[in-house]
Symmetry: C2
Subunit: 414 residues, 2 copies
């Protein structure tokens, strides 16, 4: 038997219904916020991702040479393609430009529980506005998408890369030495951060101060101990989020991100029901356009892990039950088949989802099949009924039957 | 500037709206017919496609070795992945199993006008039913999807591989010699078909008879000249299609397909407005499961070229205009910003798509921006209005303004 590739998934109908349900919830919120959908190719020139994340990304992505000798890569994320698209073709759109996207991403890593080589991201980018209100707008959308999906328990952790960068700067760390230190701090790998900080000339006291700062999580008032521009900015974002009615927001000064292109706020969302792998969303403000050959443009965006959010909804019992077919049409004999096709066509034309026996089964077997595919009602097209220009309508839930005239079936099923 | 890969496309918002419009029309019809969506990975083990189409397919697809030394390929079509999924996991589902799919496919070929390396297919497969009524069901769905998309002019050409196979068999051609001959006949490459037929021992007269048959296109009555099982079967399919109300169906004995896995009917659909590249759909009945390690199961399916159908709709002027934002909220001063955020949050919560100034622009510039993003109305949040617990509502189409109490905005915009 030919298997699907390792780390990928197939989705059967009942799974796809849940996925489309969540996608449509996400899509609805993004559209209510005035974001509009875009799409980019499944693969990109590999350089796009090495420019953004450095050459080490090659170890984690699917990259290959095409027949024309070009290095291409299956996209590991969608912010870089979106900004590449912006630089190429969208710079003349009115700003801010608000876009969202939904699609497959790929990473080459050992498949583990809940982590796949092909996974799905839903994200949004607000391009061209560098204000607290544009940051709040994006965080507000992320929060509303998760809350609008129906998920009961989630929280938002908001930080600002300026808080730690300022501390490192004050401690004499040169700008070019910051990224590796911040990357270790972001992952709470303090034992690996300490030698880097020491090498950059930091005192023991300022090292412990910085490490202590990464552990600060709490209400907006925790910012009072960290005065400065970054802190003031965060407070303004938090107060606009309050106007928006966005709740569940905590300050977390440990959300730092180590990459140069982050410019200000950073945020993450968690679904506690997921346990250790609880993060469902990550975002922040950044500037990538100049890396890809455009002018510098400030943006704020996020990506939601679609698979993990769906898993969280399932854990909370919040995904919808399988959709039911409205009607299954059963002819009682070969002579009645043609009449059954006419009936099923009539139902579909009226917007009623309907199916008909295609296997020449007996009435009993057809009723069993109708039940197994989850039909709500069965329309029995029989000779006795035909003599009265009628059909029998049977409710598969209650078992109740009634005779319905041919020209009244649509009304009876609506 | 980093470019997107050759032969791929980015889709800006106004393009994505058209695409989602067509997708939702297709999806709606498939669901009314009782088909349910499935999804498979973007890439597969390359063997899946060489098993189905032979090793020559390698010249036309993106195939590469992953880091684990496995040969994988970006899918060139979705029937093989669907049947691989069926064999692996879906054999216990009640039959017939009716599924549809929508997604990207890839081919490595010189990009030309209207042909992309990344393209989109929407298709359906009815698995496990080998009757004229199951074939008619599938053709009926394809026709209804195209007609339900709004396309005015299209036609369906229906054939049966048995008609030509019978003629070749009668002329003494061994079964194993048929595929290459049929492939040439399918493409109307008669000069290349003749030496193959001659080598297979056919007389000149039967060669010309066979070639003549591939040119037969017309109403069901043309079948009267080609009696036999295949012809009788086609007549039954045509008569069920008439019951379904499917029109625009012609018999075309030149639709033959050269691959072994086709088992009976074959059909194609055209949109005449597309000129030379007019085919928008291809399908037929087949059996692939045994190739992939399963038991033999008869299926009928089709794939619609999503891009070409959209192009046809555009040529006919039938795609929808860009969607408009319901409301754009403008504060008249910095002091009114916070009130504006509260208003925009209130509108979105009520299901009204709304946006707010995020650039601290003047009222005049905001009105210009609102117009450029296609907002229907502007909500002006000003000090004078606030004194009366109201806002000004301005219709961007008519320019008409009215004062609306804060608690009546939602009602005024619904």
């Amino acid at each position: 038997m030919i298997q699907r590739p390792r780390g990928t998934r197939d989705f059967p109908p009942e799974e796809m219904e849940k996925r489309r349900f969540l996608e449509s919830r996400f899509r609805r919120e993004a559209e209510l916020y005035g974001f509009r959908e875009i799409a980019t190719p499944i693969f990109e020139n590999t350089e796009l991702f090495t420019l953004k994340s450095g050459p080490n990304i090659l170890d984690e992505i699917y990259s290959f040479e095409d027949k024309g000798g070009r290095q291409i890569a299956l996209r590991p994320e969608l912010t870089a393609p979106t900004m590449r698209f912006f630089v190429n073709d969208l710079t003349n759109y009115p700003r801010p430009l608000k876009v969202f996207y939904f699609g497959q991403c790929f990473r080459y890593e050992r498949p583990q529980s809940g982590r796949y080589r092909e996974f799905f991201q839903f994200g949004a980018e607000l391009i061209g506005a560098p204000n607290p209100e544009s940051d709040a707008e994006v965080i507000g959308l992320a929060a509303q998408m998760v809350s609008g999906s129906g998920l009961g328990a989630y929280n938002i952790r908001l930080g600002h890369i300026g808080v730690l960068r300022d501390k490192l700067r004050e401690a004499g760390v040169p700008t070019e030495s910051m990224p590796p230190i911040l990357q270790k701090l972001d992952k709470k790998l303090y034992d690996e951060a300490r030698p880097l900080m020491s090498k950059a000339g930091m005192s023991l006291a300022s090292m412990e101060d910085v490490i202590g700062t990464t552990g600060i999580v709490g209400p907006p008032s925790v910012l009072d101990d960290y005065p400065g521009e970054a802190s003031d900015y965060l407070k303004e974002v938090l107060s606009i989020l309050a106007d928006y009615g966005t709740v569940n927001v905590q300050v977390d000064l440990g959300v730092v991100r180590g990459l140069d292109y982050y410019t200000g706020i950073v945020f993450e969302m968690d679904a506690p029901c997921l346990g250790a792998e609880k993060q469902i969303c990550g975002g922040g403000s950044y500037s990538l356009t100049e890396l890809f050959g455009g002018e510098k443009v400030f943006s704020t965006g996020f990506a939601i892990g679609f698979d993990r959010t769906l898993l969280a909804l399932e854990r909370e019992g919040l995904t919808p039950p399988p959709r039911k077919l409205d009607a299954y049409v059963v002819p009682t004999s070969d002579a009645m088949r043609r009449q059954a096709y006419v009936v099923v066509a009539q139902l579909r034309k009226a917007g009623i989802s309907a199916d008909v026996d295609l296997m020449r089964r007996s009435v009993g077997k057809n009723l069993k099949y109708a039940d197994s595919i989850g039909a709500k009602k069965v329309v029995i097209v029989g000779e006795k009924e035909a003599a009265q220009a009628s059909v029998t309508l049977r409710d598969l839930g209650s078992g109740k039957q009634e005779l319905v005239p041919l020209d009244g079936i649509v009304a009876a099923l609506k």
